[in-house]
Symmetry: C2
Subunit: 285 residues, 2 copies
């Protein structure tokens, strides 16, 4: 997605299905298709009968850094020549063509491509012309049809976007990992740490007459605790909350140290921020 | 995909997550994002602080018919205003931002969005600027992060393509059907029809000394039958094969009728083509 963290030290994946663009009319679409391929680890592009001068500045601009795919692209006079060395070929279309071929979506097609390629086959996927798609004779050359679960009221995908969905399905079929996962700078708070915070908080609230009417105390306490439980608190979160309550209870504490402190995030790891030290006084008894 | 069969009699789907583009720089990207939304049934577009004249001819051209989404798009001064009425917000990014938020991919995110929307919540997804993506302060406003299993060596998706993957994941989460499925004009051939064809063929081959050496006959026969079994034959396929063998065996038959016949596909449904009538003579005994 935009602003992505591209790690150029890591090599592009190889070995996915060949992407075959049949008579693409716009260089921009070819460039965008190359970019879409690179995004999901597809590297081999073939182009059937493109316009004479297809590789122009706009094509390269649209590739946005995936020019290595454009420069490696192979040109063929016809679909037959373009797929001559392939063992398995999908044709993409959003229309039933009455050819009785097997039809799969990306979710089935990705794993099928993976299984065939892992089995040593060379596989490819045909994408048709921007306006008219693949001709029936193109589709007749394929083993099966790949189609997408599009909105029936608006089924026409841009060429590069059709290629992108194939790439995404291919990547999912590899079980490719997400670029990162949830990372917590602090361990989750053990339950007794959370409960002792609740006890401290409720004690301060009790002292200030927050729980009224008295008979509502249990439900008020339960609701309050559930709100905090939904925060999925880390140890540092609990220290921060305690410190917050301490300050609300005790009022301003004037030391040069606190003026410097900008908040818990700046607290040097390992050191216990003052709020925690303060907590016992407030939280005791 | 290109050449898609768009059925304008069917209504666009409604009710998916709101797509929020934050400070998009190029009208073309906004238009392409609108098209991507329409492809997968997303209809509500919000734009944060676009350029003053963002809705120009190129924007509309890129929308390629999805202009109804552009014309309905709402403009906001900031992310906070754009998500003010939402219950749940994903921020898209390919970089870890050290905010400790839950992180999901499209496969988990789609069903989560569906569950929340079905539960009556209004959900949205934030997409950042083309070059720099979302700022940390934008991400801080979201409940969780949505990221894609991109090629780590080439992680930068075009804005509209990032929107497209969300749309696809949303559509898959609905269990949306493919636009069509495999359709066979003829029922599959019952096994005894296939076997009787094998017997006819092997009988003709036997008579012509195809099975040599004799002791290889069983394996040759088995291989031959397996080849035909892989054809997943329909009744019409078997009739066509029988007719083909008959002609190979009996040589040309000159009738005006055969000159007119272009092949089995043209055979009017219901009528039995001559090859089948011919089969008994060849296939008998």
């Amino acid at each position: 997605m935009p602003g992505a963290g591209t790690d150029h030290t890591r090599p592009a994946l190889e070995g996915g299905p060949v992407v075959i663009l049949v008579e693409p009319q716009l260089g921009e679409n070819i460039g965008m298709a190359a970019r879409a391929m690179a995004n999901f680890g597809l590297t081999e592009l073939r182009i059937v009968a493109p316009r004479e001068r297809w590789l122009h500045a706009k094509t390269r601009a649209a590739a946005a850094g995936a020019e290595f795919i454009l420069d490696r692209a192979a040109i063929y006079p016809g679909v037959r020549e373009a797929i001559a060395d392939l063992d398995f070929v999908y044709a993409t279309t959003a229309r039933e063509r009455g050819q009785g071929k097997p039809v799969v979506g990306p979710r089935e097609g990705g794993p099928i491509l993976r299984a065939r390629i892992e089995g040593g086959q060379k596989a490819g996927v045909l994408f048709g012309r921007e306006r008219t798609g693949l001709e029936n004779d193109d589709i007749a050359l394929a083993d099966a049809i790949l189609t997408y679960p599009v909105n029936p009221a608006y089924a026409s995908l841009n060429l590069a976007q059709a290629v992108l969905i194939l790439g995404y399905a291919w990547m999912e079929a590899q079980g490719a990992p997400l670029p990162f996962t949830q990372k917590r700078r602090w361990p989750a708070a053990k339950r007794d740490m959370v409960v002792s915070f609740f006890e401290y908080l409720e004690d301060e609230l009790e002292r200030r007459g927050f729980f009224r009417p008295e008979h509502k105390r249990p439900v008020m306490s339960r609701n309050l605790r559930n709100m905090f439980h939904r925060m999925d608190l880390s140890e540092q979160d609990v220290r921060t909350l305690r410190g917050m309550i301490v300050r609300l209870v005790e009022g301003p504490r004037e030391t040069p140290q606190t003026r410097k402190r900008k908040g818990p995030k700046q607290t040097p790891k390992g050191t216990r921020p003052a709020p925690v030290a303060a907590a016992p006084d407030g939280g005791g008894e």
